[in-house]
């Protein structure tokens, strides 16, 4: 198990220039370590399938943190446990490349448990190599989730116990239970025969990706003589005599032959055509502001409140949409955060000829109250001489303020008479156009079709608007 052999494949760099120090020919792995063997098997397969040129290796944190010293591929170093997420981002961006995620057992089965589970469950079209050496090699031989019951490590000095740590985790068993993965196999690196079997599994995992078959997962029982405090031959023996009991070898899942190749390619829309897809049409809607009948001086601070479902938020949005086409400055902000307490929805709308500072309305000059709690809650905030429009078909009290313009409107009743209570907010819109000087009825009637695209809806809404407009004009006189 010489590590020197690595440099023979063209999927490895000739010399390991990224490795610090003077030794650029050998890997940093301990003698007898399984990582080096697995590297070699992967390199061989990349060459055999002719994909060395477009392969990307995502390395983990663990003893194999330096995959980029060796693989003559695109190289990503990732955070501890996150390699499958990084590989997801890489593969989704470069669907034609061959993306390999390489992880140890601490990296994959402990800190990265969530990332591997969901990459597998999504069926990411990547190949995962999972080195199970039943220990944290890099950090000094601590327990891994795969450490065996009774196995002594630096953090289980008396041996792993069922009571304290539970059973070792079987990742192949878990991953193979998911619907998306196409291939899950557990192999070992313990002697020539088992290495040959592992070679086949590695090839299959890479071949699956070349053929766009989806997620492949190869678990490799691998020696860590240093962490296990054994000689290399002892370590190989230990895999066979002890590890195998907890981690049976075999193909846990293989449906690669039964699935169709994935379509990973995406047609990217050229930049200049993007606005169309964002709904940003080049031409305006032809509103001629010079023809509009709106006041010279607009500075409206409006609060609209009611039960959810009465359309109070929509009414605010429509007011703003209309104001925007009248070339006013507008802002809309919904009840949000602590204001939402008490079950009433409300929004703040500002319309002005000049820039709007705070979008919040603390003192409204128009309050629209569609239910009793709203009237009670916001009445006090209306400025002197302001308007309170309230739905007297639903609210059984009167405003107590005498210094405001009191405008009871049976909006819900009017809407009901027209066919549906749901258009009470449009009645109010009409009233507003009738009593104020910042809404040009012509503009409103041209904006409504933009809002209500369905013909059916539009006609009843236009009726509701007309009703409100007439009522408003009467009240204004």
């Amino acid at each position: 198990m010489s590590v020197k052999i690595l440099s023979k494949s063209e999927a490895f760099y000739d010399t390991y220039e990224r490795r610090p120090g003077s030794n650029k020919d050998q890997t940093h792995y301990c003698p007898g370590c399984g990582h080096g063997i697995l590297h070699k098997l992967i390199a061989e397969a990349l060459v055999d399938f002719g994909v060395t040129k477009n392969s990307i290796v995502v390395g983990p944190v663990g003893c194999s943190v330096f995959t980029h010293y060796y693989f003559n591929a695109g190289n990503f170093q990732s955070a501890h446990g996150r390699a499958p997420a990084v590989a997801t981002g890489v593969k989704r961006s470069l669907p034609e490349s061959i993306v390999l995620s390489y992880q140890g057992d601490g990296d994959l089965a402990a800190i990265g448990g969530n990332e591997i589970l969901h990459a597998a469950n999504r069926g990411e079209a990547i190949t995962v190599f999972f080195v199970n050496n039943a220990i944290y090699g890099m950090t000094g031989g601590q327990m891994a989730p795969t450490t065996l019951i009774g196995q002594k490590t630096t953090t289980t000095p008396y041996g792993r116990t069922l009571e304290n740590e539970g059973y070792p985790i079987g990742m192949s068993e878990i991953i193979s239970q998911l619907a998306s993965p196409v291939y899950v196999e557990r192999v070992m690196l313990a002697d020539t025969r088992s290495i040959n079997a592992a070679r086949k599994a590695v090839r299959k995992g890479i071949e699956n990706q070349v053929e766009k078959k989806g997620f492949s997962f190869i678990e490799v029982l691998s020696t860590c003589p240093t962490g296990w405090k054994m000689t290399a031959p002892q370590a190989e023996e230990w895999i066979k005599t002890t590890m195998l009991e907890s981690f049976p070898l075999g193909v846990y899942k293989d449906i690669a032959d039964q699935v169709e190749p994935l379509i990973l390619h995406k047609d990217t829309v050229p930049s200049r055509r993007v606005p169309k897809f964002l709904g940003l049409n080049q031409e305006g809607e032809g509103f001629d502001i010079s023809q509009m009948k709106i006041a010279e001086d607009v500075d409206q601070e409006i609060k609209i409140a009611g039960f959810g479902g009465q359309g109070v938020l929509s009414l605010g949005v429509w007011l703003s949409e209309i104001g925007m086409r009248e070339d006013l400055k507008v802002s809309w902000i919904p009840s949000y955060g602590p204001e939402m307490r008490g079950g009433t929805a409300n929004c703040h709308v500002k319309l002005s000829r000049t820039d709007i500072g705070s979008p919040l309305v603390t003192h409204s000059n128009i309050l629209i109250a569609m239910n009793r709690p709203s009237l009670e809650k916001f009445e006090a905030d209306v400025v002197e001489g302001g308007v309170i429009i309230w739905d007297n078909s639903l609210i059984d009290i009167e405003p107590t303020r005498k210094d405001i313009r009191n405008m009871p409107i049976p909006a819900t009743q009017i809407a009901k008479d027209l066919g549906t209570t749901r258009i009470s907010n449009v009645v109010i819109l009409g009233v507003l156009a009738g009593i104020t000087d910042f809404l040009d009825p012509d503009v409103v009637q041209r904006v409504l079709p933009i809002i209500f695209k369905k013909k059916q809806l539009l006609s009843i809404n236009l009726k509701a608007f007309q009703k409100g407009l007439e009522l408003g004009r009467e009240l204004a006189n």
Binding site: N72, R92, H118, V269, F277, M324, V330, W332, G337, G357
Partner: protein, 352 residues
């Protein structure tokens, strides 16, 4: 181009796509979820990727992967989710990968609530993860700026190979305003450092590991030089009524909109007050604040935040004891009324 009445959160996504972003990885959280909704709607239409990740940790690492290939990539979240992204952001900063991360701040600590706060200033501006790194941080105060500063964030991130954060609060995310969307960005500088798995970039490496202390120190020094260049070139702020001001109120994001209104009211009363609003929080307008502090005309500063007082430290560092610096903050998702702000500014005047 077209003017649209949109939510701040939606303006971010449209801005991002106009800026050439074709990868969005995220995890839902109020009040940032509309960003994910809009990305899910539009990304597939333009041949981009939208993926709902299993966590914010996964999402930021997917961004790491996508950004490493040279793609413009982003993620968005709100405070608790932004906390989870800190590990990944440290790696992105270390590996010098450009990306855009949006934080629509909400009330904390812990689960807190979904109402607006500005309590992630320190985490965002000082670098919330481990190591000697900084994010570029932009603080929009309108739906228009949600779009414009997102585009700028992508440009700066690419230019400096650094994560850029759009730091806003729940109000700006939820607010609707007309947005004039600009023309799409069509020209992008080549990313010679990216790893695409092709021959030309074989020498490139996406990594943040540097074993040798001297190498790592050199890398860190390089990062610090980069932050200095960013400070020299990219500091942006807005001034309002400062020409003859005697009192300076400092606030960013939604608070700057409130201060704007309070300043108008006070000016009507004849009070000579003005506002300095940092648009970039990293880099911070330290030099401008220092200049103001040295002016005889200026008597005092007041900092308003929706927090326990985080940005105020940067104002104090800049003012360096030359003038009094007062602070007023609300927390928990409460926002001050204009009346409160007027009162606070008058309190500052009494201090002098």
């Amino acid at each position: 181009m077209a003017k649209q009445f949109v939510k701040g959160n939606e303006a971010i996504v449209k801005g991002a796509i106009l800026a050439g972003c074709r990868a969005y990885y995220g995890y839902p959280i109020t009040p940032a979820s509309e960003i994910a909704h809009a990305a899910a709607q539009y990304m597939p239409l333009v041949g981009g990727t939208f993926l709902q990740a299993e966590s914010e940790i996964a999402a930021i690492n997917m961004v790491y992967g996508a950004a490493g290939t040279g793609l413009r990539a982003m993620t968005a979240s709100s405070s608790p989710g932004f906390s989870l992204k800190q590990e990944g952001m440290s790696y992105l900063a270390g590996a010098e990968l450009p990306c855009v991360v949006v934080n629509i701040m909400r009330g904390g600590p812990g689960l807190g609530n979904i109402a607006p706060e500005q309590s992630d200033y320190n985490m965002t501006v000082k670098g919330g993860g481990h190591g000697n790194y900084k994010n570029i941080v932009l603080a929009p105060n309108s739906a228009q700026e949600m779009c414009d500063l997102t585009i700028l964030a992508f440009d700066l991130a690419d230019k400096y190979r650094n994560p850029a954060v759009l730091l806003a609060d729940g109000f700006i995310g939820q607010m609707m305003e007309p947005v004039d969307f600009p023309e799409p960005v069509t020209e992008f500088a080549e990313k010679t450092w990216a790893v695409r798995g092709v021959d030309q970039d074989r020498r490139n490496l996406i990594s943040s590991i540097e074993l040798d202390p001297d190498d790592l120190e050199r890398h860190n020094q390089k990062l610090q030089r980069k932050y200095e260049i960013i400070s020299n070139n990219e500091t942006r702020y807005e001034e309002y009524q400062l020409e003859d001001a005697e009192y300076v109120v400092v606030g960013y994001g939604i608070v700057s909109r409130m201060i704007h209104t309070a300043v108008d009211q006070l000016r009507e009363e004849g009070v000579k007050v003005g506002m300095l609003r940092p648009v970039t929080l990293m880099p911070y307008p330290t030099i401008r604040l220092k200049e103001l502090a040295e002016m005889d005309q200026i008597k005092a500063f007041s900092v308003i935040e929706l927090s326990n007082g985080q940005m105020v430290d940067d104002v104090r560092l800049a003012v360096n004891g030359k003038k009094p610096v007062e602070f007023f903050g609300r927390m928990g998702g409460n926002v001050p009324s204009i009346k409160e702000l007027v009162h606070e500014i008058k309190r500052m005047m009494r201090v002098v």
